[in-house]
Amino acid sequence: MSLFWEDYNWDDVQPVFEDNSSGKLAAIAYSDEYKKAMGYLRAVMGAGEHSERALALTKQIIADNAAHYSVWDYRLDIVKNIGNDVFDYRKVGLVKSHAPTIGEDGEWLNELTLDTPKNYQIWNYRQHLEIKDCPEYYNGEVVAVKFILEDDPKNFHAWSHLKWTVSSSLKNCSAPLLLEPLLEYTNQLIQEDVFNNSAWSFRYFLYQTWPVLKSAETLDKEILFVEEKIAMDPMNESPWPYLKAVCNEFSPNALSTLRSVAIKFPDNARALEAVAETSPAEEQAAYCQKLCELENFRANYWRYKFKC
């Protein structure tokens, strides 16, 4: 790291150090290098300097601490101002021939994304580097997300970023992402782990974005899909709210569609709950009784919900 300081001239900068004579609660024993880097960062950040050396400095600090929102925010300002002069525009990233970013070192950013998947500054940062009307950008983001989800299939930030990528491509790109491959991706993940609720949530997002379930034929196919997944384990919590939402949103006979699936799984609390919900009030007491037997630890809730 010490070599770094020789790459640029810092003589004109007066570093700003924290006064540690008081206010020492939870003080971290920083390395001398980190302390020095933060001292210079405060100085150039405070002065609003947009330079190559400042850009290099942010990279040094991020290497030690990728969760530093301040540094990411500052880096973004610099990149937006001078990034294109420093980096090759549309530089090819680590993620196979994709993920170009305006003014940023795509290779470095991708590597960092893969190294620190739980970090959420990075996803937000990537969104700020959007290249509108560049299909490679959106495809590249999908590839990056898939990389992360391979190791961590419920990573909240990665899923959130994927939803953002889809919406933005539809809004800002004349060759946007397509429904079919994304739907196929949820098929694959749900097939691998039918309890992956993030994949279910993404599937619902897709159908909200592309309302293809308005067609009766597609809707029937989807209901069948859910039914098959419920059959794998009827106690799985994920498909039930999904099914209810799909019925409510797209089925002209929401209650009877839901009920027709639920009655196929007798003596199961999740199914019975759906049956009870779709029954006339006077029949609910009997179902409530049964639910209290099946899930006694939720008896208060069942009695509250079905008013019995």
């Binding site: 006064d19 609660l25 405070g46 530093h68 929102y69 909200q208 999904y242 630890f297 809730y301």
Partner: protein, 366 residues
């Protein structure tokens, strides 16, 4: 036989937790080890090793979690006041709000943590918060759809609205411009599962659920039951607690984690206050068992689950979770607590996340 990653991880967690939960009848083990946790949090306020460098932009949080946790355990923190004040005022930005450390730009999460930590100090320290600048800065983060950005280039989500409105409320700088459209925005974050996510059409998540609901409580004169799908929300909340390991999970088909005792468990007080008919729809004793039998680390401090190390974050929020199961509240707004058992901790202000006495004291400061 169906076998997936979720089932395997769930089974592994049950295998770790069930033997501990079964020892609940042993009065030597079903104990809150207060002194150990006090020692742990005191240590977290001292000098931290270079391994904590990733928390360099979270200094106010480190102070808040530890001080708040100590206070919840009834520790007199008054001798810490001077240092709390000095540490946090270094994080106050000249243009309003607080950053993650000295010389860092302001951020809403750090601002929440700083101000809630300063609520543990004195009216003199409180008066050093630049409210005018803070209010101006909050307005720069406000978006037309009612949401707030976390910081200049930051993301928008219900955490940001919660942080913005809770500090505005406790500092009495709340105004119409801050609350405008917020309820409409929060409503758009409710998902088909019934909980709340970080954005419209997201997956429901305990952290955002708490922030969403607490935000609604901070908007004056709002009819919450008419704003959101309350039955849907309750259904999601109920399902976050399972029978075998009765802590809370943060999402559907995710593992139990001690901190959700607050983020999800803490929603119950907020929901119960909306409608008198909603009472005891969850297993208080179960959450207490999970927190006491599975979340106490041997060397002190509280944790996510057995096998995880303790940290300040989990210590504070497991303690908040204990308050959630050990007290019921009446009179929303004033939050009158009634202990449901012999409590381990002091009652919590269900919206601010401060000990109730601390919140009420700060409420009296001008």
């Amino acid at each position: 036989m169906l076998e997936t990653r979720t089932l395997r991880e769930q089974r592994e967690t049950e295998d770790l937790c069930v033997p501990l939960l079964e020892q609940e009848d042993n009065p030597e083990l079903f104990v809150f080890f207060r002194d150990k946790h006090v020692k742990f949090l005191r240590g977290m306020l001292g000098n931290l090793s270079s391994g904590f460098i990733s928390l360099d932009a979270s200094r106010p949080w480190m102070v808040f979690w530890a001080v708040n946790g100590l206070a919840l355990m009834g520790v007199d923190t008054s001798e810490l006041r001077g240092e709390i004040e000095a540490t946090l005022l270094k994080c106050q930005h000249p243009d309003g709000g607080f950053g993650g450390g000295f010389g860092q730009p302001a951020h809403l999460a750090c601002t929440y943590a700083s101000i809630m930590a300063l609520a543990h100090t004195s009216p003199a320290a409180w008066s050093k918060i630049d409210r005018k600048k803070l209010c101006e800065w909050l307005l720069t983060l406000k978006q037309p759809d009612g949401s707030f950005k976390m910081c200049l280039h930051g993301e928008t989500d219900p955490r940001a609205t919660y942080c913005a409105l809770s500090v505005a409320s406790i500092l009495k700088i709340m105004d119409k411009k801050l609350t405008e459209n917020v309820a409409t925005y929060i409503k758009t974050c409710q998902t088909y599962e019934g909980g709340f996510g970080n954005q419209p059409l997201a997956e429901a998540h305990g952290g955002y659920a708490f922030c969403a609901l607490a935000t609604l409580h901070l908007i004056p004169d709002l009819n919450i039951a008419e704003t959101i799908d309350l039955p849907g929300f309750i259904s999601w909340l109920v399902a976050r607690q399972q029978h075998v390991v009765p802590g809370f999970s943060g999402r559907i088909n995710k593992l139990v984690d001690g901190c959700y005792g607050h983020w999800v468990g803490g929603c119950w007080a907020l929901v119960e206050s909306i409608d008198e008919g909603i009472t005891e729809l969850w297993d208080r004793d179960g959450l207490q068992s999970y927190n006491l039998m599975c979340c106490q680390a041997d060397r002190g401090g509280l944790r996510d689950k057995p096998g995880c190390g303790p940290d300040s974050y989990h210590t504070n929020y497991v303690l908040c979770g204990l308050a959630a199961c050990q007290y019921a509240y009446s009179n929303p707004g004033k939050w009158q607590p009634t202990a449901q058992c012999t409590p381990s901790v002091l009652p919590l202000h269900p919206v601010y996340g401060l000990p109730l006495t601390t919140a009420n004291r700060a409420d009296g400061w001008t």
